[in-house]
Symmetry: C2
């Protein structure tokens, strides 16, 4: 997919891309090293500020990098990156430079130290808003501080994980805008 053209995206609208539930790639940086992990457990928590919760297992190499740096980028890959999504989940950042190994391009973020993944459809720069639930639940509560989204297509083909190695690919669209009460859109 051509992800070279991206635009700044309103933070209050990022739910359009996260609420459907795609698998994401989380990039991080700490002490001169970068890493990427595959992650499927996340949710919107607030429109404005744009809060996103995500679960990170403390066995992941990314866990300490993210907890210490208090920053990350949530990147949304499309179907053409499915092999990278699986491969990144299969290996550990303590042994592998994932950007190099998977041919992904790190791009400097505007507001955090973690790099954006150029090949992904969307990149959300995150700063840790609340660390209190990390120890008990592995729950990181993020404030998205900058969002970059490809200018096309409008509805990317995203990956949604069903477990056991099976992905669902995002399908057709149903527009019921006229049936909604405006305040419920």
């Amino acid at each position: 997919m051509n992800t070279s053209r991206k635009k700044d995206y309103p933070l209050s609208e990022i739910r359009r891309h996260l609420e459907p539930g795609p698998i994401v790639l989380v990039s991080s940086a700490w002490k001169g090293k970068t890493n990427i992990m595959t992650m499927g457990w996340h949710m919107m928590m607030e429109f404005s500020p744009a809060l996103v919760g995500c679960y990170i297992w403390d066995g992941n190499h990314s866990f300490e990098m993210i907890r210490r740096s208090r920053e990350c980028v949530i990147n949304i890959p499309t179907t053409d990156l499915v092999n990278e999504v699986v491969g990144i989940g299969n290996c550990s950042g303590d042994k592998v430079d994932k950007f190099k190994s998977f041919g992904l391009t790190p791009v400097a973020a505007a507001k955090v130290g973690a790099p954006l993944i150029k090949e992904c459809y969307a990149n959300f720069e995150c700063k840790l808003a609340d660390a209190t639930q990390i120890t008990k639940y592995g729950l990181f509560i993020w404030k998205v501080v900058k969002a970059h989204v490809a200018t096309s297509p409008r509805y990317p083909e995203t990956l949604h994980y069903r477990g056991e190695g099976v992905f669902m690919v995002s399908g057709r669209t149903i527009n019921l805008r006229k049936k909604f009460k405006p305040q419920n859109l």
Copy 2:
């Protein structure tokens, strides 16, 4: 969809249905009344016990019913219920009996007071595991105590909300099971 045949489902496997990110219907009961709300902000938080986090706005009529009863059922509707999903989100339970108004069938749950919605593909009975994040974030952390899932199809056509009245419908499947390390499935 024929949802009359359901089976008990292993609690540690419910991620297969929630991780892809479907819109869900949350049913509740309090002081002899029932209610249903449409909800899109949820995430898996643990395999075992099966923990699920969800955001509920305190302006929803369901909020107090759920907070006080400390129970709910998370029901997964399929595409044939898209009008009910929108309609339920458009009205408030303080004025409308949603089961009656939308022709949905309440079924007694096994372990909670809230009713299952018969017409939904899956029903997850939930007890509140942690109330500490409700006031600050509207975040309810649930322990799923019983799961019912239709015996077919294996991959239901679910609804995923993109905002602005637009739903994505779950599409085709990619099975990469052979490429995963077993511990990462």
